[in-house]
């Protein structure tokens, strides 16, 4: 786990764009971010000014409007916006309103909240929890091994005792 430390410290310093590009190995960690809505809302409300800035070049946007030309030549009512943040792989879907423009804006707001959770989660809860669970596992393994060792010794001692003393009927 000590290998995580240099990476977490670079999260604090460098610009976010560079950070994500240089640490692709962290994405699996990020996907552990719990999707609990209450958590997202709490961060959003508290840290509004601190929400990450979205860089458009890091986003991939997709409208579920079918293929072919747009504009006057088509009239589709589907207005679901799918927004993907390329560096983290986080995907946000929004079809809350009948306006594509508003859905796009809301998708970005939701994305900012999710990214905020992802970043902060990295530095606090998630990392700590992971550390704790790893430590707990190590502890458990140690205890199990100790028990096995104790049993082994006990059994050996029993075997030694039983061999000579056959007269105990």
């Amino acid at each position: 786990m000590s290998s995580l430390l240099p990476i977490t410290s670079s999260l604090l310093g460098a610009s976010r764009r560079l950070m994500w590009r240089s640490t692709p190995g962290l994405s699996p960690l990020l996907r552990l971010t719990p999707p609990a809505p209450s958590w997202v809302v709490a961060f959003g409300k508290k840290d509004l000014p601190d929400l990450p800035v979205l860089l458009e070049e890091e986003l991939e946007e997709q409208f579920v409007r079918g293929s072919g030309p747009g504009g006057q030549a088509t009239n589709k009512t589907s207005n679901c916006v799918v927004l993907k943040h390329i560096p983290t792989g986080i995907v946000v879907k929004c079809h809350q309103t009948r306006s594509v423009d508003i859905n796009r804006k809301r998708a970005r707001d939701i994305m900012r909240e999710k990214l905020d959770v992802a970043y902060k989660g990295e530095l606090s809860e998630l990392v700590v929890k992971k550390k704790e669970s790893v430590l707990r596992k190590q502890e458990k393994r140690k205890r199990v091994n100790e028990n096995l060792e104790r049993k082994r010794l006990f059994n050996e001692a029993l075997a030694v005792d039983n061999k000579p003393g056959d007269d105990t009927a």
Binding site: Q62, A73, T74
Partner: protein, 370 residues
Amino acid sequence: MWWRRTLSSSYRCYLERRRSGAKIWRCLTRPTCGAPAVPAGRITALQALDVWKRHFVENGVTEPEQSSQHIIAHLLGAKTIESVEQQRLAEFLSKEETQQVWRLCSKRLSRMPVQFIIEEWDFRDLTLKMRPPVFIPRPETEELVELVLTDLQNHPGSTETPPTCLEVGCGSGAISLSLLKSLPQLEAFALERSQDAVDLSRENASRLGLQDRLKVYHMDVIKDAEKMPGLFSSISVLVSNPPYLFSEDMATLEPEISRFEDRAALDGGEDGLNVIRQILTLAPDFLSNRGRIYLEVDPRHPALIRRWVEDNVEELRFVETRQDVSGLVSASSRKRSHIRPLRWIRIEKPRSYYAGFSSGRLGSARPPHT
């Protein structure tokens, strides 16, 4: 209106014998275009959604799921199905509600656009009334409005107070009303050749309380061109989503459009530029110095328009082309993407209207005929 004929209903009544031996008359309204009959028993919204989605699929109606969702959500008083409570969706619909669902969903079988069926649609933060054959605002045009607003904030350009905008071909009034809503000081004018659209724009303006700031003129930029000079002056922004389809595109329109929307709102002539050229010809007369023109166009147009303006309208300067966001990114890793249509162009009437004045303050310079 041919769709009214296909939706004429006929009543079919039959005698239903119950197990108890009693006989009960049941009447069904059966729209003659093959729509399913209104169910005799009670049905929940969820069931209705499912039934109609299947009917739409069977009948080759595009967007089967969204169509039933939009119509039924609207009847339940909501804008999206997601905003309807689960409990409400699981409740039985009343008899009247069921009949309404059937009446409206049956219209969709004739490929009537959902916006015309529920008689409304949203454009940015506005809800507008919709009525055939007036052109339904497209999502791309929302981005055009966003572009105009951002530009007005960042580059005020002409310093007219109050700022004025002129929309050519306002249709349902979407662009003008959206700008008016976002800019409280703005005064808007609109030209529209279709009486239906003029009426609808005025109706939408009233519904939004914006009627005092929008003046709609029933005029055709091509046919009534001789009435134009002097009609407007010192306009800050000229904006338009003009008919820009190529004639060849008109032949392959989907039924939702070809059967229900005004063809004149779409057809831009052989190269799709007939109306655009006319707008650009008349624009210098209307615009203040530093005034700007924003047009939504076909992706094949920007280079053509730029060249045409350079050759034919010396008072205007092409500023930029912007792409719309519907870059088609496919879900697979092989990205068919970055086909980003170039869709809007911005043209400016520069300050130095007189070629000789290249430096010094020109703030008060005006074209001779104003």
